[in-house]
Subunit: 434 residues, 2 copies
């Protein structure tokens, strides 16, 4: 994971990275920050300020405001099931517009700037249209632009296959573009400018007293993102961890420090980082399945083959050789999963399938909980006092997740936030130790 | 000018062109034809009908409806003078959207289709952003798609420089893309689908009895386009003539034959093809310029250097060693030309500059007028009878143009159209011979 082993850096780039004397910063601006001509001009001033401060700046831009959704609606009005390759051709028009406009605005401020599409910036992906993964960054054009003193504006969210086909990286893809470029350029910092001020101990819309976190480890941010925190795309955090890219998530509108995401070493150590919640999953239960070896594989292999993401699997204690098996799937995948579930039920000799969309998941994340066995008990206790019933529990070494009624989610988040005193600057050891 | 000497055809393409057994057709659809999802689906059905009839079809698409103007307005709202390279990056988003949508609609009809940007289709241009000229067509991807039985959908109006920078070809550029691809693919026909039914003997909005022309020579179409007929971009006709590309201009909405543009040989021979008018030019007069050798160069070299297109130059008979010199320039260039004109006036020792924007040009075009000396006299006579004063006359071997008052243009067009009986199927020899 060290910063010396970046396979994504071409040898020419590495030479430049070693020889250069100026700091390289990658700045990513989301669609909300670029939603109007005035906001684009505002972003241009921020970018130029960073360049004036002496850094080489590479900007990654999302499409303006809701334009990606507008293009999706246009596609839907032409075709009921748009061809994935052509949909990628269409959607990549969005960032093409924003990068050109941002580059114009920066040029008007007297700074040299040049825009690049994902393809021009060398964002090479696999062929998974609509959800492509970056396989290589051939950043020579960006490197040349930066070396010549230009500000490089790169289209986020998009790439190109080795066969020169257009691709998109899926929702949150611009974050991944930014982190991948930061890795390829060996940038000192990857700043993610967004419409919130950073990562909070809980969603401030639910817990007004939620506190902005100064810093998080990659693992904590990964767990929070996986548990439903929307501030950073999960894949971009994975990429940052793998390549050691330092991230600073901050507001595009307010000039205050946000949240830094970096290696754990040297961080102020807290037990609990924050609480995430997610109401995008549904609970599925296979009733009275025969309890025999191989039954789990018989259930979950066909679902995986159908592309259904399964999470939070729990198997009840068997009674008279039969057991209920519950798990969560994205609500968006439920319709597609239904026929597969019926086939599975018949194949394993179960007694029916139920599904429940009125559930939500509340997750407590913190690197310190590994060494603090009381954390889970405290969380369950807080939920019990708030009269919140727990339907499924799952844990990792730094996360505890509870599936509850959807209507109870906000109350559960508040209760847990309160119990762990997350509004206070540092979570104290004695709260959890016993 | 023969079809065997296409320098734009790569060797691999030529092999394919010689070996293939199916006809290749290039179809170009303008923005009006693609202005809504319904119209895109309509175009998709037309394209598929051509493919079902057995042809290999390569489609060139403009941006939807007014979208290029909308992108220009967006640029203007961000930057008072948008950078030309970034403006091209921006504008090329327009066709990217239309090609993807058209390809989706064709795929929905059960036909294989694939869209290509100008860059992907190998439309290589010079670096003249906003008005780039095609220097080469590297059509291997399009050829491969057609050879594999796919319909290729190519973005019009846009190209890429040898240095991989985005470019646009200027207004009417999609026509040029279509003709260039037809040449590169050695296509049997280049169909230009537009919002009119073909080329008419005059603008039907002015002369309701105007007749649709079945066929025109390249030279006639060149003169009509240069004289203000908007149906085909001048540059595309030049390109078609140079590479012997047969063009069929026809309606995207009505399924009737339009106008064919081809080599003169074998065409039904008419004396007069049609009348074009143009109100986009202004008249400039340099007053009482000394009448000495080199004076014309001293006037028109600085204007050319300033990028001002000059037309219809006339020099009056000199009196006492001084003469007035009049010419036309595009109204759009007049503001930019003014300081240059003042400098010229002082340099040559003239006595002032006047300009007049309330003028219009009426042009009569016909390959047969070379051998019919009475045509010009008939035209002047018709204008005199209609009480239209002629301010400047200019001629080519197949065109006569008269500059008149702008308010007289419609009456002048009607009078000339009437005199030459252009509503009747064939202009008769005896009308003009004498």
């Amino acid at each position: 994971m060290g910063r010396t082993a970046h396979s994504v850096i071409a040898s020419g780039t590495r030479g430049w990275a070693q020889a250069r004397t100026v700091e390289v910063i990658v700045q990513k601006y989301g669609g909300t920050s670029l939603a109007s001509p005035e906001r684009i001009q505002h972003v241009a001033r921020r970018v130029v300020a960073a360049a004036d401060a002496g850094a080489s700046v590479c900007v990654v831009a999302s499409a303006m405001g809701e334009s990606t959704d507008e293009l999706l609606a246009l596609a839907a009005s032409v075709s009921p099931h748009p061809h994935v390759r052509e949909l990628d051709m269409l959607l990549t028009a969005g960032e093409r517009i924003s990068i050109a406009l941002l580059s114009m605005a920066i040029l008007d401020l007297g700074r040299e700037a040049v825009s690049y599409t994902g393809s021009q910036a060398g964002i090479v992906t696999d062929t998974g249209h609509g959800r492509a993964r970056i396989v290589e960054v051939r950043s020579s054009r960006v490197v040349e632009a930066l070396a010549a003193g230009r500000i490089a504006i790169v289209a986020g969210f998009q790439g190109v296959t080795a066969g020169l086909e257009p691709t998109t990286l899926g929702r949150g893809g611009s974050d991944t573009t930014a982190v991948a470029l930061a890795a390829a350029l060996a940038a000192e910092l990857c700043e993610i400018y967004t419409d919130v001020e950073g990562v909070f101990t809980a969603d401030p819309r639910i817990v007004p007293a939620a506190r902005k976190l100064e810093a998080l480890s990659y693992e904590e941010m990964l767990e929070l993102a996986a548990a439903g925190a929307r501030v950073l795309a999960l894949r971009s955090v994975e990429y940052a961890r793998n390549y050691g890219v330092r991230i600073h998530v901050r507001s595009a509108f307010v000039d205050t420090p946000g949240t830094r995401i970096q290696e754990e070493e040297g961080m102020e150590h807290t037990i609990i980082s924050g609480i995430a919640h997610d109401t995008s999953e549904a609970k599925v239960t296979l009733l009275e399945v025969p309890d025999r070896p191989g039954i789990a594989a018989a259930i979950f292999r066909p679902l995986a083959d159908a592309g259904v993401n399964v999470d939070m699997i729990v198997q009840n204690v068997a009674a008279d050789g039969r057991t209920d098996i519950s798990f969560t799937v994205p609500k968006d995948d439920l319709e597609q999963a239904q026929p597969v579930l019926q086939v599975i039920d018949r194949a394993v000799g179960g007694r029916g399938v139920t599904s429940d969309v009125e559930v939500g998941r509340v997750s407590l994340v913190g690197a310190g909980m590994k060494t603090n066995p009381g954390v889970a008990a405290d969380m369950f206790d807080a939920l019990a006092e708030a009269a919140v019933n727990i339907e499924i529990i799952s844990t990792s070494s730094i996360r505890i997740s509870c599936l509850v009624r959807e209507a109870d989610v906000a109350r559960a988040v508040e209760a847990v936030h309160d119990r762990f005193r997350l509004s206070e600057p540092v979570v104290l050891q004695e709260v959890h130790g016993d």
